[in-house]
């Protein structure tokens, strides 16, 4: 029995890719790959820095805001009385979660690193200290200062803002610099692929002339170059991101995260690191397309 016609499918087509029409570029394609890898590596590290700075800024303006100290400097016969008054005031102050007088030995221990263990503390007028834990939203430092000045004139409230603020500012500035650096890396990547494509267009003048003669439009010619270079930039960025992500993941984690934070990504921040190759691809696509079309339009 003979089978009924099996020729139902479309006839076989011959389909070399559009990027075949441009000869495989040599050095500039390899350089694009390497430079994109380097840029992606830098971008991932800068992102890690940005996120770490972000976390530092948060903890220095958040966690630390939840502590404060009251220092009582008074004549020895007044000190006990004023300390008691301060503790009384604190129990009725809104936003104060807990308060505790720091014993003299502990105060000495705190000072030891600065003055040495042989410090004749008994002869020094060491102030009494009361540590407070606060609920930052409900705590009103100015109100407490007013009440303390009335009840215990020797008491001074220190809510750490004096040294906390510059640290938080530094972290914010660090974050800003990181974002600026990311913009620079993006710009440099765009410039780099633009130069590579321009070099390639210049080197392939004869090919472009022939393509024009047989009726290729600028967009078609541009597409061949754009695909080549976008692919190279994306592959390079993938490699750079992978290496950088592995390096960041291998950085030691700081367990005590109160004052310091580890350099790296946590949780959802990893998604940003993984977006680097995608952003590199889009940057390369836009930059090479614009460069190729501009150059093709300008010549001849």
């Amino acid at each position: 029995m003979k089978p009924i016609s099996t020729r139902s499918a479309a006839p076989a087509t011959f389909a070399p890719g559009i990027d075949r029409i441009v000869p495989a570029a040599g050095a500039s394609a390899t350089l694009t790959l390497l430079a994109a890898a380097a840029m992606a590596f830098l971008a991932v590290f800068t992102l890690a820095l940005a996120f770490s700075a972000n976390r530092l800024a948060d903890s220095w303006s958040g966690d630390l805001a939840a502590t404060a100290t009251v220092r009582i400097s008074a004549a020895p016969d007044q000190a006990d009385l004023q300390t008691r008054r301060v503790l009384e005031v604190l129990t009725t102050t809104p936003g104060v979660v807990s308060s505790r007088e720091i014993p003299a030995e502990e105060t000495r221990a705190l000072l030891a690193p600065w003055f040495g263990p042989d410090l004749p503390v008994e002869t020094l007028p060491i102030p009494r200290l009361v540590a407070i834990t606060t609920e930052p939203q409900a705590f009103d430092a100015e109100g407490l200062r007013l009440r303390l000045s009335a009840e215990a004139p020797g008491a001074v409230l220190d809510d750490h803002s004096r040294w906390r603020a510059p640290l938080a500012d530094t972290a914010v500035a660090l974050r800003r610099i990181a974002v600026f650096s990311l913009a620079l890396i993006g710009g440099a990547t765009a410039a780099m692929v633009t130069l590579a494509v321009q070099a390639s267009l210049a080197a392939n003048g004869q090919v472009i002339r022939v393509l024009r003669l047989i009726g290729a439009r600028d967009v078609t010619i541009a597409r061949a170059f754009v695909r080549r270079y976008t692919l190279r930039a994306t592959l390079g960025a993938l490699a750079g991101t992978t290496v950088a992500a592995a390096a960041v993941a291998a950085l030691p984690v700081v367990a005590d995260g109160e004052f310091l934070t580890h350099l790296g990504f946590s949780g959802r921040e990893w998604l940003w690191a993984l977006s680097v190759p995608a952003i590199a691809a889009i940057t390369a696509l836009v930059a090479t397309r614009a460069a190729a079309l501009r150059r093709l339009r300008d010549e001849a």
Binding site: A12, T13, A15, P16, I21, P23, L213, A216, T220
Partner: protein, 223 residues
């Protein structure tokens, strides 16, 4: 299809065409002859828009060349198949890819069996994968012809297409062009091969143009 109105062209220091007016109408068959260096190739380059007239006008398919946008010019060239004197292949592509190039850049599908038929017709079966540098002069010229006609253009311009072909192959090429002309294509062949012209005149009503002293004249019986 292609009209020149008082068109002039010259390289610095030498005028090749001075005020030429000429019409290549639909389904016409022309030969363009003249001594080497007379300006045959230059005339063809004007026709497909690689060169622009220094003075006068040239219009193709009813549109003034000077008014065409870049994309329109590309569209115009897709309607003109050119067999270039030096073939103008891309050295990094195979013969099959070079022949298919007009379809590739136009984003048109390439039916493998049609491509194979075309290559077989010009006697290049089995040479599909060869690079241009591996082809003989005759093979290159036949490949150039295949590339010129693969996109089914309305006008076919051939610049010395038989320069590297033996007589038998020249005749085959001629009969293909005659066949295409009967199907309504406009054909112009630049050649100084008078035997080819004489043979053609027995097959088709061809007009013979001669470039002389910057003018394009219709040649008489004095071939």
């Amino acid at each position: 299809m292609i009209e020149l109105h008082d068109a002039s062209y010259g390289y610095p220091g030498r005028t090749l065409l001075a005020g030429v007016s000429l019409t290549l109408s639909r389904a016409s068959f022309h030969f363009l002859t003249g001594p080497s260096g007379a300006g045959k190739t230059t005339f063809l380059k004007l026709c497909y828009g690689e060169l622009r007239p220094n003075a006068g006008r040239l219009s193709a398919f009813g549109a003034d060349l000077a008014q065409l946008s870049r994309d329109d010019l590309a569209g115009m060239r897709r309607r003109i198949g050119v067999v270039h004197q030096d073939c103008e292949f891309l050295d990094h592509l195979t013969l099959a890819e070079n022949v298919a190039l007009p379809l590739i850049v136009a984003g048109r599908p390439i039916v493998e069996s049609d491509l194979a038929d075309l290559l077989a017709w010009v006697g290049l079966r089995g040479r599909e994968g060869a690079l241009p540098s591996e082809l003989s002069g005759g093979e290159r010229q036949r490949g150039a012809l295949a590339r010129a006609i693969i996109g089914a253009p309305d006008v076919i311009l051939a610049d010395e297409p038989t320069g590297n072909l033996d007589w038998e192959m020249s005749m085959r090429l001629l009969s293909l062009l005659v066949e295409l002309n009967r199907m309504g294509k406009t054909v112009l062949i630049a050649t100084h091969d008078l035997n080819l012209i004489r043979t053609a005149k027995t097959q088709v009503a061809a007009r013979v143009l001669r470039i002389k002293d910057g003018q394009v004249q219709t040649a008489g019986a004095d071939l």
